[in-house]
Structure formats: C-alpha cells, structure tokens
Subunit: 373 residues, 2 copies
C-alpha cells in the first residue's frame, strides 16, 4: 500500500483519493501525475490501452489539425504540443521506456490540382493564424522526400508537427503510473455509484456517454499498419498528410519500419474492417508514395474515437455531480492533448481551482439536455 499523507481518516487504507475510469493515455497520464503528487490513485479498466489509442497514429499536429471555426481547440492543441517534449522526457525518466517521440516534421501535400487547392485553402488559413507552416515548390517537396510520387502537385511543411507511438505511450504511462503508486484494477465500471473516492475522473473515451449522459459519440476510424520490406526503415522520414483524389489520409513512418496509414472517419459504432475502407486508404497511400506498394500489410484495424458536437474535448466538473470530473471527447486529438489534459485535471484536483485554459472545454457547454441523439 502506498501512502504519503499523514492526515487521513479511518478509510485511509482502502478509499482512494482519486478513482479514474479508463486506462487510455488520458486516464493513465492523470493517474501518473496525481500519484506523483502524493495522491492515492486507482484506475479501473478491464483492457488498458484497448480503446482509440490502440488504433491511433500518434501525430502531434497542432498546425495541420487547425481547422476553420475551431480556434479554441487549435489553441489547446498548440498548448499541449508545446508541452510534449518535456512530457516525453519526464515520462522516459519515470518509466524507463521510450515513446518514440520524433521531430522530423510534417509535409502536407496535394496529388492533383484540386487536391492542392483544398490543401492550400487550409494552410492559408493556418498561416493567417500565425502558425508555422510554409508552402514548398514541388521540387522542394521532393528534395525533402524523394519517395513522394512525381505527380504530387505541391505542398507545405509544418516543421513543428511531430509524432509519438501511442502503443508505446500507453505502456510507458502504465509503468510510470504504477511506479508512482497508482493501482490498476482490471474491472469494468458499470456506474459511477460503484466507486468510492474523494474525486472520480471519467476518462473512459466513448464509454463516458453511458457513465455520464454527456454527448460523446463513437466515430469509427479504420487504420492500416504497413512494414518496410526486409524490416528496414521506411524510405521517408516526415509525417505525410496528403489529399489524393479527394481522399484525406496520413502516413506516419516509425523507426521500426512501420508506417501507419489512416484514417477513415465514419459515423458508425462498429469496428469491422471493410473492403471499401482499406481500398480507400491503400489507393491514396500508394498514389502519394508509390513505393508503399512493396510494403507488407501487417495490420488492418478499426477503432472508435470519442467525438463531441464541436469536435473539442470535455474537461472539467460533471454538471450536477460534485466530486466527478470528466476528461473525454478527445476525438482525433487524444494523443496530442494528453499532456495538457493530465496537467490541468491534476491541478484542478490538487487546488480545486480550474485553469482558465479549461473554460472553453467545460462539460456543461451543451446545456441541460446533454445526451446525444
């Protein structure tokens, strides 16, 4: 038993200070940060790391993910991405494990003239916000990545958009949380009333809807994992975000030779891999980087992102339920938002005061009838 506090009552040996539902990156990072502050933490999850993070590519893309009408989310993405290098270093020290943080930057490219126009429309908006993204001539693109197809019409570079490996992230966070004294229980929580803790944090991804009534809905994504032939490294270094005949995909190369190709965005709750989904991803990938045709196809999976009505996360007190906090709805941004979410939730638990950064993301922003239909 782990105990750093002297002023506890009779429940000191059994009642945690913080009960966390969900052992994905967000739940585990909160557990690690809270346990490191001396709080007694228990995390409940029958299958840690089996949710959206298992399928996620791990792009840290505050710039390339800055979309029209999402300024507040864009600000939070930038804030969290800025925290990532320090977070990764702390985590490596605390866990003894590496999370595959790579700072090779991201190329945004368009295959056809129409695709390039679509890409340029977005990066012009991002430039207008003052974000670091710079257009490149086709020859400059190919100088940076000779693996790109000759017919790619143009693109831009976002040097500050990096990546980590989400599966290694979960393993490292789990090790760090347990080393700091957090306890993982492999049990499913059917209702918040089953838990007894000073503070409960719902970090259950799509499972948060049933536990809280908040408007979190599953958004299906199909993702492929390729492997360079002969198990060498991939023959490109940047993350590549491409538009190809109207399809928007990303290619994330890892040091191991793995290349993640994603992702469909489907308003469905099943996790079947479909012929059409795989076809769309492979066609766009091979059109953008022809050499990928020779790669082994080693995994095709589908996962469910926790989406919200405005695509932004739900972080803060659950309305009408004192002692319950929420940290979910991270949709396509769970990996990049892990550091800032963990920091802000931990501060809120320790001090009782919400950071002003949280104001746009409070769970009560969708009114009194939050259930999604």
């Amino acid at each position: 038993m782990h105990d750093r506090r002297a002023d506890r009552g009779p429940d000191v040996l059994t009642r945690p200070d913080v009960a966390i539902v969900g052992a994905g990156p967000v739940g585990l990072a909160i557990a690690w940060r809270c346990a490191s502050r001396g709080l007694r933490v228990t995390v409940y999850d029958p299958a840690p790391g089996s949710g959206a993070s298992h399928v996620a590519a791990g792009m840290l893309s505050p710039v390339a993910e800055a979309y029209f009408g999402e300024q507040e989310l864009t600000g939070l993405l930038a804030e969290s991405a800025a925290r990532w290098p320090r977070f990764a270093a702390d985590l490596a020290e605390a866990s003894g494990a590496d999370v595959g943080y790579r700072a090779d930057g991201t190329l945004v490219v368009g295959l056809t003239a129409d695709d390039l126009a679509e890409a340029r429309r977005l990066w012009s908006y991002q430039q207008g916000l003052g974000l670091p993204i710079t257009p490149l001539r086709p020859s400059e693109l190919r100088d940076r990545e000779p693996a790109l197809a000759p017919r790619v019409r143009g693109g831009a570079v976002a040097p500050g958009d990096h990546q980590v490996d989400p599966r290694r992230l979960v393993a490292a966070l789990r090790a760090a949380a347990e080393r700091a004294g957090a306890v993982l229980r492999p049990s499913r929580v059917g209702a918040l009333s089953e838990l007894d803790a000073r503070v409960t944090v719902v970090a259950a991804g799509c499972g948060a809807a049933a536990l809280t009534g908040l408007p979190v809905r599953p958004v299906k994504g199909q993702v492929l994992r390729l492997r360079a032939p002969g198990r060498g490294a991939a023959d490109f270094r940047h993350v590549i975000r491409g538009y190809a005949d109207g399809e928007s995909i990303y290619l994330v190369p890892r040091d191991s030779g793995e290349v993640v190709v994603g992702a469909t965005v489907e308003e469905r709750a099943d996790t079947e891999v479909t012929a059409g989904g795989v076809l769309r991803l492979l066609r766009a990938a091979v059109d953008l980087v022809p050499g990928l045709a020779e790669y082994d196809l080693v995994e095709a999976t589908a996962g469910l992102r926790p989406g919200t009505p405005d695509n932004a996360p739900l972080i803060g007190p659950l309305p009408g339920r004192p002692g319950v906090l929420v940290a979910t709805g991270h949709h396509r941004h769970g990996i990049v938002l892990t550091p800032v979410t963990a920091d802000l939730v931990t501060e809120l638990i320790v001090t009782g005061e919400p950071d002003p950064l949280l104001a746009p993301f409070t769970p009560d922003r969708f009114g009194k009838e939050p259930r999604w239909n």
Copy 2:
C-alpha cells in the same frame, strides 16, 4: 491397426504399402482412394492442409481456365471436372462432411472495352475448342447478376464451371482417409530415403522440388476473404472472373457469406501480404461489384502454388527411382485436378499400368536435367 490383406510378410504390422508425402487435397485423396482399395497407407505432413489449398478459392473451371497452347492440360481439367460431382458425393458419404460443391456457374466479364476484348479473345478460343461458354449481352449479364457494376461492358457464361470450398475439402478428405484406415503422421520428411514402403507418393506441392529434384517452383498468390455485412449471404451467386483495367481477378461467393477474392500471380517464394497486392485485388473487385466495398475484410493471406515449366502437373513415376511416384506441380489447378489425380495414381499403384491419360504429364518430360533454375 488396420489390415485387410491376408498374405503379408513379417513387416505386415509396420511397413505401409503406400507412403504419401503431403496431406493436401491431392495427397489425402490418394490416401483415401488407396485405403479404400485395401492398401495400408501412411501420410506424412507436419501441417495438413496448410499449403496452396489453404489459400485456394476452389474454382472448378475447365472452361475458363482453358488457355492458348495448353490443350493437353485443358483435356485433363475437363476430365477431372466431369468426375467432380461423383467425387463430391462419394466423399460426402465417406466422410459425413460437405465440401460446399456449388453448380451456379461462372460469369466471365470485362470492365472496359479493352478488358472485354481481352476476355473475348480467350472465350472465342474456348468456343473454338467446343467448350461450353456463351457470350451474353450486358443486359443479360445484369439480369443474371444485378450486383455487377453498370459499367461492366460485357461477358459470357460458363455454366459448367463450378466451385468447392478447399478448406472443407481438406477436412472431409482427411476424415474419409482416416475412416478408410489411412494413418496420418505429423512429421516432416526430409528425404525419401527416410521412408520404407512398397510405393512412395510425393504429393508435397512446392516441397516436391527438394525431395525429387523435379522442376517445381513456388508461384506466390495473394488472396482476400471478405464477408457479407450482417453475416448474410453474398449478393451474387455465380463465380465471377473479371478483367478490370488490365487486372484479372475472380470472386467466389460461398453459402456462408464469404467471398474469396484472388489472386495475384507472382514469381516469388515469400508469403508476405503486400499493400500493392491487396490494393490491386480490392480495386478490381470493387470496380466489378461495387457492393463489395461494404463487405468486411476478414482475411488477407498469401500462399505458394507448385508451378512447372509448362503449367501442367507432374503425375507418374519419378525417373530413376523405382517405387516412387509423383503427384505435384498442380499450380493453379490443384482443387479441380484432385479427383482425376487420385483416381489415376491409385490405379497405377494397384495395377502397375499407367492410364493413357497420364502420358502428357509424366515427370520425365523435361529431360535429364530436371532441376529448375
């Protein structure tokens, strides 16, 4: 111990009459037929049914597989296909298992004008041989299979080209062989000298090259298995063999809702599934039958066909090795050729006289230096 013969010598309890290397469809069918004739049979295979048959689609296509310059092979395909209905019925009775024999016929279709010209060139040749294949107008094609894409330019029907399920075939043959008294040993044969039997039959697929020195080489094929959504039946009944933008593929619908999509033909010996291979198969499949985009992709595998210099099998005595027979090199035709191969090899073992049908397929036809390079 199984023993139906009265005149055996002192080795009667241990020495088999027939030792068979390889428990694929050909080896198991020979085992079943020989054991049914009262011979003592042992089959050696560390992984029965794990070779080419595990990946095979199971088309019984004597007509659509009749290619230019392969008249003798075409004759053997037709002979074996004619034996299939009786073979399937015998096997069902002997094994108690069903092999999924379906007689819905095969459609040959072309997506573009060029594809149709390619298909027509072949079926005109097949018609010239007197084989049963009949051109259809596009409207007639779609009346038969409304699932075909509207842009399919035309095609033909081969009503006598049927199908079975190769995995169910292996299971049934294994049961039938064992019920008839054959013994399966899960051991790998490294050299024919390890075996002691009156007759040895090498039915080891690609493995025959190392055991015999015959010119059998691996020809890689990548194959997908899709499943109709909701686990219903596929929405087409015919086997569809299509040409789509220069790609030649087949679609084989099963009663279970499974659809087999195949196959690449690659002069390689690895069994990796590649991004390019899957892309080619899915693109052609969805172009021909758009509804397949909604099917689940449940399996992507690669196998090795035992190819020979003239694409025809090697069936008969191994030159210079009395007492050794060969039944391999069936390439893309192992399933359709299983009945005739088993019948002719069994007759040869029992009577010592080769059937004239075997003359074009003797293993010595490639001369004195048979090893493939």
